[in-house]
């Protein structure tokens, strides 16, 4: 943490702390690595990519100097390919599948993908054209990876698409939900622009149930795609959550994405509850906001945590400490209503639960007190149940039920994709998965209208 100290001047957090951590490849590095790629046929990296990017193809194009073609190959398969270059757990996907793992070392596919998409961003390359208008209209609710991906594909197929976004800026998770030092907002905005340039209208500041109503969307559009993702972190459900010093990790990340750096963290002791992707983001953000000590508390162990290995490594390098098998029971405050201590309890793992993970159980009498100033909760996300119910869709605990082939919900005109259909133990809540579901949903919509559209033209 010490090297970040220079970035705090008289108690002020500097934006330098939130600039992208990892430098981009220079052209020499990109060329060296691109030429190292074997250009496998039927390559395992392609199979490992949820969006099926022709990875050897885009890398070959970097090697040949056809950077526009390279970026086109990437973005064609993945409408949020620039974001994914930065946030994908590549060692578990493409790079993990690289055949060179068994020979020398894998090709840095994520970095090469970033190199090619950065070129497209810098050169304002126009990669795609909207299809000839086919007269059909689609409303997409939510502008995150799944919504953008659906809209992009539909626009290329000739649909007139309108995206409805509750926030004042589009991009969803990529814009607001991933720490800026891993994914700068500009990258997400470029992807949004790519979609907008295909003639997709994006209505921001438009909330379902307030500014626009489900019945109207269903009435006015030929199809509606629900891609609202997930919501805030749920309550811990323990005593003392109303005290000052309680933060929601998702709110915290969103603030930092907006360049709004809370100053309450400087010199403080922070406890982050949970060990998923957002917990890592909450913890590393706390470090960059100037916290003196940051601990991640998790009721299970290292083996069960859902954060990716590279995130775990990154957090450790940032100086984040981990307390396994530890669960908060109660928050204790001072006379000013500010949290000062957390009562924790030691856990042990017992038989396996339905989702395949062992059940953590409190060890009786193991309670202890931990001195803290700030609690950042990151124990998962709640669902936009209100919106789902406003559409009258069948769901299970906020997970919308869809036909796995057609992505159609219980309402025949309404489709759903992305985190809104991500349920416990089913699939992966990755940006890249949402992107693929968006593509699949667009194709499913097209499958339905294809005939009438072709007849018309």
């Amino acid at each position: 943490m010490s090297d970040l100290l220079k970035n705090f001047i008289s108690g002020e957090v500097l934006t330098a702390n939130f600039e992208e951590t990892k430098p981009s490849f220079n052209s020499q590095e990109a060329l060296d690595e691109a030429n190292r790629c074997l250009y496998c046929y039927d390559a395992p990296c392609i199979t490992a990519c949820p969006t099926g990017i022709d990875i050897p193809g885009f890398i070959k194009k970097i090697a040949s100097g056809n950077l526009k073609g390279s970026a086109t190959t990437i973005m064609d398969s993945n409408p949020v390919g620039a974001s994914c270059a930065r946030v994908c757990p590549t060692e578990e996907l493409c790079e993990g599948a690289c055949v060179l793992n068994d020979a020398t070392k894998p090709i840095p596919i994520g970095d090469l993908q970033r190199f090619a998409t950065d070129w497209a961003i810098k050169n304002e390359a126009v990669l795609f054209q909207a299809g000839k208008k086919n007269g059909k209209t689609v409303a997409v609710v939510g502008s995150g990876p799944a919504g953008l991906s659906t809209a992009r594909e539909l626009a290329r197929l000739g649909y007139t698409v309108t995206i409805f976004e509750a926030k004042r800026e589009a991009g969803g998770l990529d814009t607001f939900g991933i720490v800026p030092f891993r994914l700068p907002k500009d990258i997400s905005f470029w992807e949004v622009e790519q979609v907008r340039n295909l003639g997709v209208e994006i209505r921001t500041n438009t909330e379902i149930g307030k500014d626009i109503f489900p019945a109207d969307l269903i009435d006015q559009y030929d199809a509606v795609v629900l891609a609202v993702g997930m919501s805030k972190v749920p309550m811990l459900g323990i005593e003392g959550e109303e005290l000052e010093g309680n933060f929601d990790a998702i709110d915290l990340v969103e603030k930092s994405k907006n360049g709004n750096y809370p100053e309450d963290f400087i010199g403080k002791r922070v406890a982050v509850i949970g060990a998923g992707n957002t917990a890592i983001d909450g913890a590393t953000t706390s470090v960059r906001l100037g916290a003196d000590n940051v601990k991640i508390l998790y009721r299970r162990t290292e083996a069960e945590m859902t954060a990716y290995d590279f995130e775990y490594e990154f957090a450790k390098q940032e100086g984040v400490e981990f307390r396994w098998l530890t669960n908060p029971k109660r928050l204790i405050g001072d006379e000013n209503g500010h949290v000062t201590q957390m009562e924790c309890v030691q856990m042990e793992l017992q038989e396996t639960e339905k989702d395949g993970r062992p059940r953590p159980v409190e060890i009786e009498g193991s309670e202890f007190l931990m001195d803290i100033d700030i609690v950042v909760k990151a124990i998962g996300q709640t669902r936009h149940q209100g919106i789902i119910e406003a559409f009258g869709l069948e769901h299970s605990g906020g997970v919308v039920k869809v036909d796995p082939e057609t992505f159609i919900t219980s309402h025949p005109k309404v489709y759903a994709a992305g985190d809104v259909i991500f349920g416990k133990g089913i699939g992966e809540a990755m940006v890249v998965t949402a992107a693929q579901q968006g593509k699949d949903t667009a194709l499913a919509v097209h499958e339905r209208f294809k005939q009438s559209v072709t007849e018309r033209s």
Binding site: Q28, K60, K61, S64, N66, G69, T72
Partner: protein
């Protein structure tokens, strides 16, 4: 999107990429796969009297970890019956009428033999013929291939024989295993060739095994010279294309062949006068799928340059290619080292010190940092330092403002001659 179609000696192709006559074009199955992938044309594996092949057949030079810098083969022409090849040519052309099929032919340099094969093949419908007068191994020992291609009179005569019977364009393929390529190129033109294609492969031996002392490749312990191709031969091919393109006595379209692996190579060959290109080794290394980047890269290049059609660039560099005696003796170039980019490997220093003109000094700046500096007054602008430099942008070759008007060796000799005459 720029138009990358070509009209080569009257043969229309949707893109400039044809597979060269070689193993990739051995069968209808292969050529159809290539067309499916997007290749503009294919020059069918050479037809003639069926032959016998040996195993093994190929060898390759790998250089510093890059595989297939160069490639050689001792495979002969088609070893399949002519009827089979003709049937497949017919089927393939029917399936892909918009693609080009050129039949490569090789028979002994006798009028009747050429008339016979040209007519037989013509009957199934091909877009053109390519006369294989270049195969350097095996066939040449039987008086065909390079044995014909090395004699200008035989080139002229053979071309004439083919032309007498051909109703479609005839392309004469030249061997590089000759001192002056323009001698046979001119002979082909005299024989009435509609175009020439070059280069065929170069006589080569890939290597010798350090343990067995066998040649690479070898057939049961013995080897024979093979035909060399692949990226390593590109500069040789590019020169020969340029030499033919700038020779007014050749003056027929050129199909460029030799190490073409990328869209950039294609641009270079076409600027140097090729009206289309043929590819083999790159496809053998990576498969027909390379056509995607070959065409897309070319289109993107032309779009970026604001050029509407590929045909607009053909031969645009030819006038820049001349004899040494026309080069400007008063032009001065010097090296300049950018020490903020330099990584201090000192490779430029030692290259210059030991093998060029001893003008790069290893110095220490006022802060004690190692720096390299060129003594420009001693620099001859040879480029060696910038060639060995591993870092882009560390060494620039700078054109100095001329102090005297341009003067070539020819200008100088003419001036001296005039003074002497006075």
């Amino acid at each position: 999107m720029a138009d990358i179609s070509i009209d080569f000696a009257g043969i229309k192709s949707p893109n400039p990429y044809w597979l060269a006559s070689a193993p990739p074009t051995n069968t209808g199955y292969q050529v159809q796969r290539a067309f499916e992938a997007g290749w503009g044309g294919a020059v069918w594996k050479t037809l003639g009297e069926p032959i016998l092949n040996v195993t093994s057949r190929f060898g390759a030079s790998h250089f510093n970890g890059q595989r297939v810098a160069g490639f050689n083969n001792i495979e002969l022409i088609s070893d399949r019956p002519l009827e089979e090849n003709l049937k497949e040519i017919y089927e393939t052309k029917k399936l892909y009428p918009d693609r080009v099929i050129i039949a490569s032919l090789m028979v002994e340099p006798e009028r009747e033999k050429w008339h016979e094969i040209v007519k037989r093949v013509q009957d199934v419908g091909v877009d053109g013929f390519e006369l294989n007068l270049g195969c350097p191994h095996g066939m040449s020992e039987r008086g065909m291939g390079a044995a014909v291609g090395q004699h200008p009179d035989l080139v002229e005569r053979t071309t004439m024989y083919a032309k007498e019977a051909a109703e479609v364009p005839v392309i004469t393929k030249l061997t590089p295993n000759i001192t002056d390529i323009t001698a046979t190129a001119k002979a082909a033109a005299r024989g009435g060739a509609d175009a020439i294609s070059l280069i065929n492969t170069i006589n080569s031996l890939i290597g010798v095994d350090l343990d067995t002392w066998n040649t690479v490749p070898n057939v049961n312990g013995k080897g024979a010279h093979g035909g060399y191709c692949g990226p390593a031969v590109k500069p040789i091919a590019l020169n020969m294309v340029g030499e033919c393109a700038r020779n007014p006595e050749v003056n027929i379209p050129i199909s460029g062949i030799g190490g073409i692996s990328t869209w950039q190579d294609t641009v270079e060959f076409m600027l140097m006068g090729a009206g289309g290109v043929q590819v083999c080794t790159a496809a053998m290394h990576h498969g027909f799928r390379i056509i995607e980047d070959l065409t897309e890269g070319l289109e993107n290049y032309l779009d970026e340059k604001g050029i509407d059609a590929l045909s607009d660039i053909i031969g645009k560099s030819v006038e820049k290619y001349t004899d040494w005696s026309n080069l400007d003796l008063n032009h001065k170039v010097v090296a300049r080292i950018n020490n903020d980019v330099c990584i201090n490997c000192n490779k430029c220093h030692i290259a210059c010190e030991d093998t060029s003109h001893q003008c790069i000094d290893m110095l220490t700046d006022k802060d004690g940092n190692a720096i390299l500096r060129v003594r420009e007054e001693d620099c001859v602008g040879c480029n060696l330092c910038s060639i060995v430099c591993p870092v882009e942008g560390a060494i620039d070759m700078i054109d100095l403002t001329p102090t005297e008007p341009p003067m070539s060796w020819n200008d100088r000799q003419a001036a001296i001659h005039m003074l002497e005459k006075r």
